[in-house]
């Protein structure tokens, strides 16, 4: 079957990887935040490819992140759901997709987001990690009940 223009563009933009993880269908423009939320920094040893605002059949545009030689765990990838709930995860081994799964919004997130409330006990030197309950209205701080309803990425630790 003939590939669509969007698929062809996508193929050209990001090469196949031999082993690793491909995070597909990330909401357009959120790839860098996805990398941030996964804790992947410039000091990482793995080859990292990022494509942003790629035309997509199912979405207006999407981002793609490819990470070689590293298979992300479910707990790691579920964090992505906070900013891109439609993302899909493909685990690649020897150029083949061995696992394909969606992301699930976790009920509790720990240590990823800091509480915006400067008066919150979680912003002190106490031996605790930040903890948020994921609720329909937003992320609710376990300690002080502050609710993050927008700009979540600016609070990623």
């Amino acid at each position: 079957m003939k590939k669509t223009e969007a698929e062809e563009n996508e193929r050209l933009l990001v090469r196949r990887i031999k082993n690793g993880t491909v995070i597909d269908h990330i909401q357009g423009g959120e790839a860098l935040n996805v990398v941030k939320i996964l804790g992947i920094t410039g000091t990482t040893q793995e080859a990292l490819s990022i494509a942003t605002n790629v035309p997509s059949r199912n979405m207006e545009c999407k981002d793609i992140v490819k990470l070689t030689n590293r298979e992300l765990s479910k707990e790691e990838v579920d964090r992505i759901a906070l900013i891109s709930p439609r993302a899909t995860i493909n685990i690649i081994r020897n150029f083949k997709v061995c696992e394909k799964k969606g992301v699930e919004i976790p009920t509790l997130i720990e240590g990823i987001v800091r509480c915006p409330n400067p008066g919150c006990i979680s912003n002190t030197n106490e031996p605790i990690q930040s903890k948020f309950k994921v609720q329909p209205k937003g992320l609710c701080c376990h300690y002080c009940d502050w609710v993050i309803t927008k700009d979540l990425t600016s609070y990623i630790i």
Binding site: C120, I121, S122, T124, K137, C144
Partner: protein, 281 residues
């Protein structure tokens, strides 16, 4: 809890109910009423209280974390009462404690034991269900107002708020209360609402919330309750205040039948006796 407090108030309790038990009071912020009423409650039940005195005198001043302090104090007492300037401190303490923890105020967060005595005081005058209550003063940082408003959502109460600009009820709390079905009506002036409420709950406007004394006095004077404000109020109106008051209520109001704040303060003892029995027996 309110029924239990009433029975305690009527003298129906075992004066040795907590004999041999020890309560640790950890107050990292100033307190008169809350601390003394917890200690009085403990003494009336035959128990003992321990405290660290001032913050300067305890290990927190040496840089110890609250988590470590709580772990240590858990070994010395059967329950801990904590007041702390940070929101969520009591919840953190409960995670590290091996004994029950009671929140006696966490920053601008909550003050649940005050709310229980507020509800008990209202109940002494009227059923709580479906009351119209006006919260006046600093509703943004006032933890007593936060806890009381949350509790009143359980009673189908209608909330009227009167607060200076910038000190309104936090938006997230207001949204949460609205989600629970509570009707919240904002007013600019107490005179707009005084004839329509059953309870007037006045809180202190703190001077440190304003850039200078002049702007504080200007705002505070607009929120001062005087006998003249109360003309036309419902006969059964009660006025509550968590105390201490500074200038929010004219002392002439003390002589009016509406004033209940000193009874309210006294009610801290039976409520806290009921709480301590609940957590330590």
């Amino acid at each position: 809890m309110l029924d239990h407090a009433r029975r305690v108030d009527e003298g129906n309790y075992d004066k040795n109910a907590l004999q041999g038990k020890i309560l640790a009071t950890l107050f990292f912020e100033p307190s008169t009423r809350t601390r003394m009423s917890f200690e009085s409650a403990m003494a009336r039940l035959g128990g003992t209280s321990l405290s660290v005195g001032s913050v300067e005198a305890c290990s927190i001043a040496k840089g110890e974390t609250l988590a470590d302090t709580i772990r240590v104090v858990s070994g010395y007492a059967d329950a801990i009462v904590i007041r702390h300037p940070k929101e969520g401190a009591a919840r953190l303490a409960a995670e590290f404690a091996t004994v029950p923890v009671i929140n006696a105020g966490d920053g601008a967060g909550q003050h649940p034991s005050q709310t229980l005595l507020d509800l008990y005081t209202i109940l002494q005058s009227m059923p709580i269900d479906k009351i119209d209550i006006a919260l006046v003063g600093d509703l943004r940082y006032g933890r007593t107002a936060h806890s009381l408003a949350s509790a009143l959502a359980l009673y189908d109460a209608r909330l009227h708020t009167i607060s200076p600009k910038g000190l309104e009820l936090p938006a997230t709390l207001a949204a949460e209360l609205s989600d629970k079905g509570m009707e919240i009506i904002e007013h600019d002036d107490l005179n707009d609402v005084i004839r329509d409420v059953d309870v007037l709950y006045v809180t202190r406007i703190q001077r440190e919330r304003f850039p200078d004394s002049a702007s504080y006095f200007n705002v505070a004077s607009n929120y001062r309750i005087t006998p003249e404000h109360l003309v036309g109020a419902r006969d059964h109106l009660i006025i509550l205040h968590p105390l201490p008051r500074v200038d929010e209520i004219d002392p002439r109001v003390d002589e009016l039948p509406f004033a209940r704040y000193f009874e309210q303060s006294r009610n801290g003892v039976p409520i806290r006796m009921a709480m301590l029995m609940r957590v330590m027996q």
